[in-house]
């Protein structure tokens, strides 16, 4: 059963264009020029109850505008929108009781008070009875492992701890849909990993549908079976996340740091070739010709390699005794650009 449906959903912003300089400012006092910008265009989308969908796109792609329309914060310019049987921008309380939204950098917590104080407020706002409140609070306190943090001032918590509290506040009334806008922004790897684990569990155990907007490929790849990619306000991909990454995530960026000075640059290719030859069992070795050195200093090396050659590249680097190695996926913008180019040739959707 679909709990969200949109058809040809469009949002156009009207914005003031001021000519450059003081004279432009003075002229604009009596004559103003406006331009229209479509943030979301003809967007068709459906979400089934219990789904966990990733919304991917570079900055300004229209992800947040879409989320704002789905939650009723802003009104669409045109198109059809139905969320749990409601037109969101009517802002009916029956509608608002059934979803929650967490915006990474906008908090519902009272910083000078404790998380328990905010939870108590939200208990009343969502009209929960005492038993239900205590049970849900206990469930999330255990799940997030924050029992000892419930009675300390929120402002003294770390960013990761604060995000856990933010999620607790959002999930207290057991919403049918949870909208998450960049929940892991600014968090370190450990905290992001924890948040991802909690979200997975909440989705699985409580059946909460989740729409996750994130810049981080790891958030999407570990959490979402389905991904929707937005570019310039249009949907350019809607399908399985593993297929998305298999088709469009082509490279890995490897960064290694060394305590000793690096050997000459040409050795890297030779080591890589040997490693690839070893992997191929001595037959038809591939040449690591597409390895691109992005940065090279005496103690640091960053290379971009095709993802299927990442292990060979690591094997080539290991003999030089790196003190630290990180492997990153293609950045979201790169992937989206590839999908967009593919889409313009009619292959993405």
């Amino acid at each position: 059963m679909n709990i969200i449906e949109t058809e040809r959903l469009t949002k156009t912003y009207r914005r003031f264009k001021k000519p450059e300089g003081l004279s432009g400012s003075i002229k604009s006092l009596w004559k103003r020029e406006y331009e229209e910008k479509a943030a979301v265009r003809d967007f068709d989308f459906a979400l089934q109850e219990g789904e966990l969908v990733g919304l991917i796109g570079p900055n300004g792609a229209g992800k947040t505008t879409l989320t704002k329309m789905l939650t009723g914060i802003i009104a669409p310019t045109s198109g059809r929108i139905d969320v749990m049987g409601f037109y969101p921008n009517d802002l009916k309380n029956e509608f608002k009781r059934q979803y929650a939204v967490v915006m990474g950098q906008k908090s519902q917590l009272f910083y000078e008070l404790t998380a328990n104080d905010t939870l108590r407020l939200f208990k009343e706002i969502y009209e929960l009875d005492e038993k239900q409140f205590r049970e849900t609070r206990a469930y999330f306190t255990e799940l997030f492992g924050v029992r000892e943090l419930m009675d300390v001032q929120v402002r003294t918590l770390s960013l990761g701890e604060r995000m856990k509290m933010e999620l607790m506040v959002a999930l207290l009334h057991q919403p049918r849909i949870l909208f998450l806008d960049e929940p892991s922004i600014g968090l370190d790897a450990i905290a992001s990993g924890q948040i991802r684990r909690f979200l997975k569990q909440v989705n699985r155990e409580r059946g909460t549908s989740i729409i996750l907007t994130s810049h981080y490929m790891e958030d999407i790849s570990t959490l979402c079976d389905r991904s929707v990619v937005i570019h310039h306000g249009c949907k350019v991909y809607d399908g399985r996340t593993d297929e998305l990454f298999a088709r469009y995530q082509k490279n890995k960026k490897i960064t290694a740091t060394f305590s000793q000075e690096l050997p000459p640059a040409q050795n890297l290719a030779a080591e890589g070739a040997a490693s690839l030859q070893g992997q191929a069992g001595g037959q038809s070795p591939r040449r690591p010709s597409r390895w691109e050195v992005l940065e090279r200093t005496p103690h640091k090396l960053t290379i971009l390699v095709p993802k299927e050659e990442a292990s060979a590249a690591l094997a080539a680097i290991m003999p030089w005794g790196p003190t630290d190695i990180s492997v990153e996926e293609d950045e979201i913008g790169t992937v989206v650009e590839r999908i967009y180019q593919d889409g313009s040739r009619g292959a993405a959707l």
């Binding site: 912003y13 914060i73 802002l91 939204v101 009272f110 009343e124 706002i125 009209e127």
Partner: protein, 272 residues
Amino acid sequence: MNSDFLSGYRKYREAAAINLKAQLAWRADVVFNMLFTVSKILFAYLLWGIIFRQRDMVAGFTFHGMLSYYIISSFLSQLELSGGISGEISARIRNGSFSKYMVLPMSIQGYFIAMEAGVVAFYLAFDFLAAAVWVFLFRIRFAFTGEPLVIACAALMVLLGLLFMVQLNFYLGILTLKYQEINTFLMIKNNLVSLVTGTIVPLALFPEAVVKLMRCLPFYYVTYLPSMLLTGRCGEEALPGILVLAAWCGALQLVIGITWKKYRKRYDGVGI
């Protein structure tokens, strides 16, 4: 907006309570607020003491009558803290964080009224304490009416007055949806309120024609008339005053409803 406010009073009570708790979080703030109240009374005592050295009466007030008026009026004006609401709403609409109120299943205006009530409860307690201590220390012969009906009218008027000011500031705040920038409105409102509420000088010092005009405006009933009622004056204006103020509250609520309905869709939540 109104039906929400009436149906779920517990959520608004909790919103008021959490704002009261937030006020109590900072001990230094509590102490400095009391010192500020005390210093205002001290300055008034010195200032009016100099003026009354050369005469016994000023505009019908004795020295102690004037101080009583000043203490009550200053106490009431310190309770009127809604000025920040318009600025906060305006800033939040402009930076997009107003969304946090839009997603909650409660009236946004009701939430702001509840927040204000929580803050007022805090100041009510501490300012009352400070004022009482100073009345005792300066041995002011406090001129306070003994008529229960007048006291009840004054209390109701204070409540309606505070509600009106929250409504007014909420209204000015949501005008940001149309005008984007409301600082000029706020400046005009602040100057008008300071003058018309009688917090700068008692309205009795103005010519009668001006006072008549002010009686038609709601500001006259926010701090000035309740202060006069509580010091035993203008008793005949109590009931008409309540009616005028209630009419203003009703009218402004209507305007808020229309404005919100008309301009709500202009909110673009930019910044989130």
